[in-house]
């Protein structure tokens, strides 16, 4: 035998309270919203407009995210083609593999100039590429409006990124700085196999593979199988791009200091 379900309710409720009070609350909200609706009419008004700076600025104590865009916002990239040294570091550091190095006019036929082309369909705006760029020529701006009509348009070639650079948007100033005393490429000679990879990929051709004397094999000892050459780096030409470190198959190149 189950009890029938009955709705229980407070019968002492005063009609003034449950009609008049909500209506007064709504009217107060209406009056407030008539002057300052919370909605920002987005394409025509933006939170970064000066008129919102005072209202939702940092001073107001509101949580981060409702204020104007911050300077370290990671938006679309700006690329300065002129100073790019085609070092590949951005493409290497990209976790989403969205950077392709494509040829741009301006290089010599033997060493075509290659600059990053970014596929925003994949980019996660992590900023690793701009951290890695040794020249500071790839950095992230505060622009966040990137919608396009097709996937193909999401791929921004270097020229387009250069166009964004030319608009002089506020840029994200944060880059990992290398310690001042560790700005040389150092080689751990016993590991090197003389493969020529660093010399081949160096954008400034400052690595020369120098012959080293082939040691005499002691009896019973087997000499390592390698080319008897070692990279010698011309520090005055080196642009500290780090490409050689990245391409070295034996990981024998490091950042360090040489006296």
């Amino acid at each position: 035998m189950t009890e029938p379900l009955t709705a229980t309710e407070k019968t002492s409720d005063n009609p003034i309270l449950w009609v008049a009070k909500p209506m007064v609350t709504a009217a107060r909200q209406f009056a407030r919203s008539l002057l300052h609706p919370s909605t920002v009419v987005y394409p025509f008004e933006r939170l970064e407009d000066p008129k919102f700076r005072t209202e939702v600025g940092i001073e107001s104590g509101k949580p981060i995210g409702v204020g104007p865009i911050w300077d370290n916002y990671r938006g679309v990239h700006a690329l300065n083609i002129d100073t790019c040294i085609s070092c590949n570091l951005c493409a290497f550091s990209c976790p989403d593999l969205c950077i392709d190095m494509v040829t741009v006019p301006g290089g010599d036929p033997k060493h075509p100039k290659k600059c990053p082309q970014i596929d925003y369909g994949k980019c996660s705006y992590c900023g690793f590429c701009s951290d890695a760029c040794p020249e500071g020529c790839l950095s992230m701006t505060t622009r966040y409006e990137l919608s396009v009509h097709s996937r193909r348009e999401m791929v921004f070639p270097p020229e387009k990124l250069f166009g964004i650079y030319q608009q002089k948007l506020p840029m994200n100033p944060i880059r990992v700085e290398r310690p001042a005393n560790e700005d040389r490429i150092v080689l751990e000679p016993p590991l090197c196999i003389g493969c020529n990879a660093c010399s081949r990929d160096c954008p400034t051709n400052c690595i020369t593979m120098m012959e080293i004397p082939k040691p005499e094999a002691k009896p019973g000892e087997k000499l390592p199988k390698r080319i008897w050459k070692e990279p010698v780096i011309n520090d005055s030409d080196c642009v500290r791009c780090g490409t050689c470190i990245s391409v070295c198959p034996k990981e024998c190149l490091f950042w360090g200091s040489r006296k």
Binding site: V19, P22, A26, Q29, F30, S33, P37, S38, V41
Partner: protein, 376 residues
């Protein structure tokens, strides 16, 4: 004054047009074209077209008004982009619905499914035509226009029920049942509140009721009747807090669940048209219709079409009150709704009737002045 009715104007227009066309036509044609029957038929059509345009434009602007007000109540802005402040947004929405494919569920009853919304729409339109808006905008003087309007107003539950039942959907049917129960429960207090007005004004003619309010509007002395009338109107229009028939949270969309495209637009338009007519009735019965109190400077009341202007201003303010109520109050339960209807509203409306009778007997009130000519 009544010669200046809307129908009279359209008759004159058509007559003028046809006689000027007829004057340049050769013999057998001009006699045919100036023939009285043609003038009559055409002027009825013109009259209907004017009514249709006026009601549709008003309805759509009313939807805009609700969206904007509700937006501010909810700390939004409402429609913004199409036209000035989104004024044309609803025309765009209407066009979209108009272009949509109209279909009916396989098991639905064809006749009921299609005739329900159409009849609902048509009766709401007729309602718009019956109500006078100013001394110039009326459909002639009908001695019982108030009764006629309320009679047409109470057609709605029938058509809602027909379309709900023929949709062959349990949610529609439940919505239709609720709608019928609710409308019948609230019809009684609504009519009793109207009786209070009729007692004081002594007439069933809406034009007379308005002219009776020249000296003081009825909302003050008949405040109780106004409260009952507004509550009843909310229930009749199925607006929040009395929108149980289409309670989205429990009944999908209530009795219009199965409707899409233009048929849905019919329901939507007719709903708001009834909202408009409900606000019209409140203005006509309690807020002095197109008259303005004598302390209002003459410059504000003497321009052409001033009557229509002030009438519409009042109407939109009254509808704003409905929107305000919608923004504030939660939906009630069916049992609460019916209990309030039968147990509270009817006693309240009876009290309003007695108050009105007392008012007519006393004839003068300290604040509101004296009745101009005590009615019957």
């Amino acid at each position: 004054m009544s010669s200046l009715s809307l129908y009279g104007v359209s008759f004159d227009l058509v007559h003028l047009l046809l006689t000027s066309i007829g004057s340049v036509l050769p013999y057998p044609l001009d006699a045919w074209i100036t023939n009285g029957t043609l003038v009559l038929v055409l002027s009825v059509l013109v009259f209907a077209a004017i009514l249709l345009a006026a009601s549709m434009i008003n309805t759509i602007v009313l939807i805009w008004w609700e969206r904007k007000l509700l937006g501010r109540f909810m700390d939004r802005r409402g429609a913004m982009h199409v036209g000035y402040a989104g004024l044309l947004q609803n025309f765009a929405d209407g066009l979209k619905l108009f272009r949509k494919h109209t279909f009916k569920p396989a098991e639905a009853d064809t006749l009921g499914f299609f005739s329900g919304p159409t009849a609902y729409m048509v009766t709401s339109m007729i309602l718009f035509g019956v109500l006078p808006i100013s001394t110039g905008w009326n459909s002639g003087s009908l001695p019982l226009s108030l009764l006629l309007a309320l009679a047409i107003f109470s057609f709605a539950p029938l058509f809602i029920f027909v379309s709900a039942w023929s949709s062959n959907n349990k949610y529609s049917l439940m919505g239709g049942m609720r709608s019928a129960a609710q409308m019948i429960a609230y019809e009684v207090p609504l009519l009793l509140a109207v009786v209070a007005v009729v007692i004081v004004s002594g007439s069933f003619d809406l034009t007379t009721i308005v002219t009776e309010q020249q000296n003081y509007w009825f909302w003050g002395p008949l405040f109780l009747a106004l409260v009952v009338f507004v509550a009843g109107m909310l229930a009749e229009m199925e607006r929040i807090p009395f929108d149980l028939p289409e309670a989205e949270a429990e009944l999908v969309e209530g009795w219009n669940t199965e409707y899409g495209g233009m048929l849905f637009a019919f329901f939507m338009l007719a709903d708001y048209l009834r909202g408009l007519v409900g606000s019209f009735l409140v203005v006509l019965l309690f807020l002095g219709g197109w008259t303005m109190p004598s302390w209002v400077p003459g410059a504000l009341t003497n321009f052409p079409l001033a009557g229509i202007f002030w009438f519409l201003v009042k109407t939109y303010l009254v509808f704003g009150l409905f929107v305000w109520i919608r923004a504030s109050l939660p939906r009630v339960r069916t049992d609460q709704l019916l209990r309030v209807g039968w147990n509270r509203m009817i006693p309240l409306s009876l009290a309003a009737v007695f108050l009105a009778a007392a008012l007519v007997t006393v004839k003068c009130l300290p604040v509101f002045g004296c009745l101009p000519s005590p009615g019957v």
